[in-house]
Structures are given as structure tokens and as C-alpha cells.
């Protein structure tokens, strides 16, 4: 049927492929060795580290059970920070995403918005935190701003990609009734991306909980702060308790997020 590859070409193709694979493997090995060197990978220190780590971990137990009740409030604080950041992220990412989509926004706006979104995503939360603490001082506000900002960035990018994937026929059909662009957005774009918005939001919530812990350690409060101060004051049993509570929080947030996401992706699609 004309789809046979002559034997010689096939052999040459395979040889070329093998060469490519060898080069890639070599590159991988070189980069690995270089990275190991820069990271001071030292198996001796690793071995002694295990010893030190284990004896340190022994100091963690038993966890400070009595501290549970007072640690519940910081856990709630971290959760609430993550929640607010996620909600604000979801709300504000929608207009950003609309402005960043090639099928909705004019080119200059789209380029500007995409750059802004790249900035929001390229600035790690902790860096934002350090800068914001310098301006606003310690407390939840810098943490909220940092997390919200990053959330908007990530959600806006995902949402913009989803918007660009909407079948153009769908948008054209609404446009052809004489609708304005904003009506096309209201009735064609938003209903189609709503599941994506919710699913991404839930995913971001999981991430925000973890990030909230870290930001807490550098001044946003919450359970991260408790953990940090406990470790600094060598109160390891307290740190252990804080860790256990955080573990539960992260686990629960993941379960909740997964189950809601499964429901959205199933139920929304068919119904």
C-alpha cells in the first residue's frame, strides 16, 4: 500500500535514533554529575546525616499532645488564609484570563496581560512575602497578598488556556445572533470554563495550604509560625505536634479537593 519503509532507511533511522538516545543519556549523566557537585552531594555526610537525623527525630517523640488545643487556632488561620487566597484568586483570575485569551482579547491587551500573568507566576510566594513584609510588616496581610497574587497568576494562565480551547463554532454561533462581545463572554465563554475554574481552584487550594505553612514561617502566622518557633527554640516535641496537625490538614485538604474535583469533572460533563 505504499507505506513500506525500505530496509536501509529503517536501519538508518534506527541508528540515528540510537545516536540521539546516546547523546541524551550522556547529557543526562553530565548534568547529573554537575548538579551533584554543585549540591555538595557527599555520601559520607549523607550517612552521618542519617544518624543525626534519626537521633533528632527521636527527640520529636512523644509529640506534645497537650498543645493540640492551642494549635487549633493557628491551623484555622492557615486554612483561612489559603481559602481567601483561593477565592480571591478564582474571582480575579477570570477577568485576567479573558484579557489574556487570543479568541477574546485584542492583541496588545493579550500580550500585556500574558506578561503580567508570567510575572505573577514567576515571583515565588516567599520572595513576595519578604518584600511585602518590608512594606507592611509581619502579619497575615503580606501572606494573603502574596498567596492571592500567585493564585491569580496560576489560575489565570490555566483559565486562559481553557478559553482558547473553546470550539470557535460555539462562539461564532452566539455572535451571529447579533450579540455583543460581552454577551458572548457571558453566555458562551463563562459557562464553558466554569468547571475548569472550579477544578483549578480546588487544585490551587491544596497548593495554597502548603504554601501557607511556609509563608507562616516567615511571618504570616498560622501553624507555620508555630512550627518555626518551636524548631528554633529546640522544642522538638512541640514542633512534632505542629507537624502532625499540619499533616492532617494537608491530607484532609487534598481529599476534599480530589473528591470535589472528581464530582465536577464527572457530573458537569454529562448530567
Amino acid at each position: 500500500m505504499g507505506t513500506e519503509i525500505p530496509l536501509l532507511e529503517w536501519r538508518q533511522g534506527r541508528a540515528a535514533h540510537r545516536r540521539r538516545r546516546a547523546v541524551a543519556a550522556l547529557l543526562l549523566v553530565v548534568l547529573t554529575l554537575l548538579s551533584a557537585w554543585r549540591c555538595n552531594v557527599d555520601f559520607h555526610s549523607f550517612a552521618t546525616g542519617i544518624g543525626k537525623g534519626v537521633s533528632l527525630l527521636e527527640l520529636f517523640f512523644p509529640p506534645e499532645w497537650s498543645g493540640v488545643s492551642e494549635m487549633l487556632q493557628p491551623i484555622a488561620v492557615t486554612t483561612v488564609i489559603a481559602l481567601i487566597a483561593t477565592l480571591l484568586g478564582m474571582c480575579l483570575s477570570l477577568p485576567c484570563a479573558l484579557a489574556a485569551s487570543s479568541n477574546i482579547a485584542p492583541r496588545p491587551l493579550r500580550l500585556a496581560m500574558r506578561s503580567f500573568i508570567a510575572l505573577e507566576r514567576g515571583l515565588p510566594e516567599i520572595v513576595q512575602m519578604l518584600l511585602l513584609v518590608a512594606i507592611f510588616g509581619l502579619g497575615v496581610i503580606p501572606g494573603l497578598i502574596a498567596l492571592s497574587f500567585s493564585s491569580i497568576g496560576m489560575l489565570a494562565k490555566l483559565l486562559a488556556d481553557a478559553i482558547e480551547e473553546i470550539e470557535p463554532h460555539m462562539l461564532e454561533a452566539v455572535e451571529a445572533t447579533g450579540a455583543t462581545r460581552s454577551q458572548v463572554i457571558r453566555y458562551a465563554v463563562i459557562p464553558q470554563i466554569l468547571p475548569a475554574l472550579l477544578a483549578n481552584g480546588l487544585f490551587r487550594f491544596e497548593f495554597n495550604v502548603r504554601a501557607g505553612v511556609i509563608l507562616g514561617a516567615v511571618g504570616a502566622g498560622g501553624i507555620g509560625f508555630i512550627m518555626m518557633t518551636a524548631m528554633n527554640s529546640m522544642n522538638y516535641q512541640r514542633a512534632c505536634m505542629a507537624t502532625l496537625l499540619t499533616l492532617v490538614l494537608v491530607f484532609v485538604s487534598e481529599r476534599v479537593s480530589d473528591s470535589f474535583r472528581a464530582r465536577i469533572l464527572d457530573g458537569g460533563a454529562l448530567r
Partner: protein, 281 residues
């Protein structure tokens, strides 16, 4: 009444996709545009509704009172105003899948609703009742609360028609409305469009001359962008040849069959893309 005058769509390379096409459509007509894929059928319809900007030419819609609307060389606002009076029925899925059937129908009169009202209030119950009437006409009233994405192809097409009916336009445009449907559903659609055409003219691009011969009042034939036939819907084989080209070519055999052909002995088998997805020109 629709008046298309000297429509020209020319690519920057100089190739003319629609070459000086003129025709008009009046009351009571059920016009069908016939031609091969790439002949310019869909492109002409897209120009009528303004989804594609023609290089030159004029397209004018006139209502019974004499008020006229243009879709060529007009600003966005006038284009929207003209579009209110054109009921477009696409082929395939162009309902908003995540909206209900009823909401999809109500989209038909978005041109008459101020965007602020759309955002703040949405639709009204009165509009919903009128939309139900339109759905009833296509026998889809029972599916009003279902999500459009859960419907079959034939059902979606009927909802598309309901949307166009609800729009109360001056003319219906149908871009290959039955190409992706099986024969039974296709017949159902045509038997809805035909009575519709008696009150409001319908012009559609079709692939199937046999079906067209049974339902349409008039045929416009295009070939390579040019108008080659404008007359009765009963086409002789010579007239078909004029529209579709050489009678021995594969395209001719496939295009003129009432049923899609997958393989015929003696001819080169070729799965024409138009038989499955029909990307309009």
C-alpha cells in the same frame, strides 16, 4: 428579502474563493446552494451573516416595511443590528454545550437585549415561554431543561433551528445542516425547514442534490467560486455536471449520492472529509 450583489472573496495570493456571485432570495423560497467542497457555498453564507468579510460586494437585507440592513461595509453596531434578522443554523455542534436547551434557544434574541441587562438580570420568564413555543415547533420541548451537551446530533440540530425560529428573523441561513446526520434525522430536519420556508425564506448550503430536489424550491449552483446555475431544484444530470464537474470524477459520484458512499468498485475510494466533519470553506 436578501440581495447579494457581486460578492467577491479574494485571497492575498489572488485566488478567488467567491467570484462575482449575485442572487436574491424572496418570500416563500427554499433555496439551496449546491457545489463541491471548496466551491464557496459556506463562504458565501458566512459573508451574508458577516462572519467573513468579503473583499467587495454588497449584501442587503430588506424587511417587508422597506427598512434595509447591510452586512457588508458596515461598523460593528450596524452589523449586530443586521444579524438580528438573520437566523443562522450551523451544521454540527454550535450550541453552547454547558447551557440548557432552553437557554440556548433564548440566545437567539441576544441581539435585542442590552448587554447590561444580560449581565445583571439574564433572561426573563416571558422570553422563556416564547422559547418553549419555538422548541415545541421542533418537538424538543421535553428536553428544555437538559444540558445541550447531552443531546444527540439530530437533536442538537433541531435546537439550533428552534433558536433561529425564536429569533424571528427575516431569513434563515443553514450551513450544511444535514451533512453530519443520518438519513432519518436528515429527513426530519428537512421536513421542519420546508414549512418554515413558506413563512420566512430559507437559504442553505447542501451536499445532497437528491434530498434538495425533494424539498427545495430553487437551486443555486456554485463551482470554484462562480455561480453556474440558478433555477429549478430538479436538476438534470447535465446540470449536475455543470455544478460538480466531470461525471466520471470521484467527487461527482460521492457528492451526488443520497447516501454517503464509502467504496464503489471501479472508482478510487476516498473518504471525503465533508462526509464526516465537513469543515466549511
Amino acid at each position: 428579502m436578501l440581495q447579494v450583489s457581486n460578492l467577491l472573496v479574494q485571497l492575498p495570493t489572488g485566488k478567488r474563493l467567491v467570484n462575482d456571485v449575485s442572487f436574491s432570495v424572496g418570500r416563500g423560497e427554499f433555496v439551496s446552494i449546491l457545489g463541491c467542497s471548496g466551491a464557496g457555498k459556506s463562504l458565501t453564507l458566512r459573508c451574508v451573516v458577516g462572519l467573513t468579510r468579503p473583499t467587495s460586494g454588497e449584501i442587503r437585507l430588506t424587511d417587508p416595511r422597506g427598512k434595509s440592513y447591510r452586512t457588508t461595509s458596515v461598523g460593528a453596531k450596524e452589523l449586530r443590528r443586521a444579524r438580528r434578522h438573520i437566523g443562522l443554523i450551523f451544521q454540527g455542534s454550535n450550541l453552547v454545550k454547558r447551557l440548557t436547551v432552553l437557554e440556548n434557544v433564548m440566545l437567539g434574541r441576544l441581539g435585542h437585549i442590552h448587554p447590561l441587562r444580560s449581565w445583571l438580570l439574564g433572561f426573563t420568564d416571558a422570553e422563556a415561554r416564547q422559547a418553549m413555543e419555538a422548541l415545541d415547533r421542533v418537538n424538543m420541548a421535553s428536553c428544555a431543561a437538559r444540558l445541550a451537551g447531552s443531546l444527540s446530533g439530530g437533536e442538537m440540530q433541531r435546537v439550533s433551528i428552534a433558536r433561529a425560529i425564536y429569533q424571528r428573523p427575516l431569513i434563515y441561513l443553514a450551513d450544511e445542516p444535514i451533512s453530519s446526520l443520518d438519513p432519518r434525522n436528515a429527513e426530519a430536519i428537512m421536513s421542519i425547514l420546508q414549512p418554515l420556508s413558506r413563512e420566512t425564506p430559507v437559504i442553505g448550503a447542501f451536499h445532497q442534490p437528491a434530498v434538495v430536489a425533494r424539498y427545495c424550491t430553487r437551486v443555486i449552483g456554485v463551482r470554484a467560486g462562480q455561480l453556474v446555475y440558478d433555477g429549478s431544484a430538479q436538476l438534470s444530470s447535465r446540470q449536475l455536471e455543470r455544478i460538480y464537474g466531470d461525471a466520471n470524477s470521484e467527487t461527482f459520484a460521492e457528492e451526488t449520492a443520497a447516501q454517503p458512499l464509502l467504496f464503489e468498485p471501479g472508482l478510487q475510494p476516498a473518504l471525503h472529509p465533508s462526509l464526516s466533519s465537513g469543515v466549511p470553506v
